[in-house]
């Protein structure tokens, strides 16, 4: 081919000096940033698993909550688990349907109107309201009149979950193609029927997975419950009346004590709580993945 002397060939090697160095430094800093993220996560998980695993067994998960000073290995966290389950379940029963309905309004009815934009915007703003405010709110508006109860706690958690469910459901509804809706309209269906029978089922996977994430978030919240359930140590299956307890409340109470037993139970409860949150998150992802496959 072309015979060009060695010296005449263009030098195509890397630019030397500061350009190459600064590029490398920048890339290293980015990787370092990620490492800095992994370290505390790993640290926390390893510690919780190490300290919590030794405390957990079936009796731990079901026994009564003993006094603070009780040594490690005595008692358990049963009432706290029960409390979390009933309170979070009630909160979800409130927030999830309302959130879905709200998202339906935004996507199917509100369209580009000013009200829908306002609601959508403030729904996002509401996700940034500190959870402690939700607790103070329900305290002011409910507890002062009706006393502490699991119900009050559920209200506070539901306020927290509502904007999250609205946003994630809205994103899912947006993804449903209009052609599906039009097919149903063309058969003479009303908008309500189209939404309930066609749009919701099409988006259900994403909606459920979004709801699971909101539930995981609510299960881990402590602050809203501080002012609404008045943490006790006995189980209270009646979520509508009387003070209650929950896993995060228990952990908070035990973290503040110097007693080894309480702390050990705290670690066990923390491990349980993280496990619940992680399981919910993983199930949520699995549903998203399976659902996305159906979409194609």
């Amino acid at each position: 081919m072309s015979v060009i002397a060695e010296q005449q060939r263009p030098d195509l090697r890397e630019p030397k000096g500061w350009r190459r160095a600064s590029n490398r430094i920048a890339t290293s800093l980015m990787v370092l940033a990620f490492v800095l993220v992994i370290i505390p996560l790993g640290f926390v998980l390893v510690t919780v698993i190490a300290k919590g695993a030794s405390a957990i067994n079936w009796s731990f998960l079901t026994s009564q909550i003993p006094s603070e000073v009780a040594p490690p290995g005595v008692g358990g966290i049963g009432p706290a688990i029960a409390g979390t389950i009933v309170i979070v379940a009630l909160a979800s029963a409130l927030a999830v349907p309302l959130g879905i309905l709200g998202a339906i309004y935004l996507n199917e009815y509100g369209g580009t109107g000013w009200l829908a934009k306002l609601i959508g915007f403030f729904s996002d703003v509401m996700t940034g309201v500190p959870s402690i405010i939700m607790g103070l709110f329900i305290f002011s508006i409910w507890v002062l009149h009706f006393g502490f109860s699991g119900l009050a706690g559920a209200f506070a958690l539901a306020c927290l979950m509502l904007p999250i469910v609205i946003r994630s459901t809205y994103e899912m509804l947006r993804l449903v193609p209009d052609s599906l809706r039009e097919g149903s309209y063309a058969l003479g269906a009303t908008k309500a029927r189209v939404t309930v029978t066609v749009v919701l089922p099409a988006a259900i996977g994403g909606i459920v997975s979004g709801a699971l994430l909101a539930i995981a978030r609510a299960a881990g919240e402590t602050a809203p419950l501080l002012f609404t359930i008045l943490t006790v140590t006995t189980v209270n299956w009646n979520v509508f009346s009387g003070p209650n307890t929950s896993l995060p409340s228990l952990i908070f109470a035990n973290a503040n004590t110097p007693y080894a037993g309480a702390q050990s139970r705290g670690w066990g409860a923390a491990l349980t709580l993280i496990a619940i949150a992680f399981i919910l998150m993983i199930v949520s992802r699995m549903i998203t993945a399976r659902f996305a496959r159906f979409q194609r």
Partner: protein, 291 residues
């Protein structure tokens, strides 16, 4: 960019490709060879988009790549300045020599390659900076700090791009505020500011109106004396208006196995390609019967 590794891809067998390619056309009156592509094949994942392309590009000429959609002409263009490196899963077989040095050799830096072989894109993409900073970006990253020299470079490049008179009073305005034709000339000025050897153009006028198009074509003829230009175009009239040499690409398809790939069909002086094409497929395309 989908994960094409998921699908099972079979590519067109090379024997079919070889059979479909006629002998290459003449290198008459050619100056220095700038690019020598040798049996270049481009892959996206396991899909072979372009197969066994061999051609030479000569100095101070405008070479046009023409052909129907999907024939790989943009892909081949982008192998000339290693822009395909940016696509995850893309790789190249064969070699491209630039002034005798292999572009895909072991120690070759894509950054150094692109410094010498510039590119103008289909849709004008000025940076969200002032007009001055757009043009000065290239020289600055190559180390030029002297304000006087930068002013000189900016003016020279804008003049070469036939944009100076229109913007000389508003160099500090944002580059995003220019019309389509002006923005494209800004991008050309930006490319010329680093004084490349070659300017690649990927359908530079397809997003512009006819007046802006004609301005750019004039520009191309003006700067041809200082640079080598390779242009991909859908517009055959444009190819006849500006280019010295033309390469016609097409899609080679095997209907039974449903495989396809892009191939170089014919390559020669523009006049010959359009007035006396050697290959039937070329004749069909340039006379408007296909593509």
């Amino acid at each position: 960019m989908e994960d094409s590794e998921q699908k099972v891809v079979t590519n067109l067998p090379r024997s079919e490709v070889a059979a479909a390619q006629p002998a290459q056309s003449d290198a008459s009156e050619a100056g220095t060879e700038i690019f020598g592509a040798k049996k270049v094949s481009c892959y996206y994942g396991s899909f072979r988009a372009v197969t066994d392309v061999s051609l030479q590009i000569y100095e101070h000429e405008i070479t046009a790549f023409i052909g129907p959609s999907g024939c790989g002409k943009t892909t081949v263009l982008r192998t000339l300045n290693r822009m395909n490196d940016l696509v995850s899963g893309a790789h190249v077989e064969g070699d491209v020599e630039y002034r005798g040095a292999s572009l895909y050799g072991k120690d070759v830096s894509a950054i150094a390659v692109r410094r010498r072989i510039g590119m103008v894109f289909q849709k004008p993409n000025p940076f969200p900076k002032s007009i001055y900073d757009n043009v000065a970006y290239g020289p600055r990253i190559n180390g030029e700090r002297n304000k006087g020299k930068l002013n000189e470079i900016v003016e020279r490049s804008l003049r070469q791009a036939a944009l100076w008179d229109e913007v000389k009073d508003r160099l500090n305005n944002s580059g995003l505020g220019l019309s389509g034709g002006q923005a494209q000339r800004l991008c050309i000025a930006r490319t010329l500011a680093v004084e490349p050897d070659v300017v690649l153009m990927d359908e530079p006028c397809s997003a512009l109106d006819p007046i802006a198009t004609s301005a750019i074509e004039d520009l191309m003829r003006d700067i041809k004396q200082r640079y080598t230009i390779v242009i991909v175009t859908h517009n055959m009239q444009q190819a006849t208006r500006v280019s010295d040499r033309t390469a016609f690409f097409s899609v080679l398809r095997n209907e039974e196995s449903d495989t396809r790939t892009g191939v170089l069909v014919e390559y020669g002086r523009t006049q010959q390609i359009f007035e006396d094409p050697h290959d039937d497929r070329t004749r069909a395309y340039v006379t408007g019967r296909m593509g």
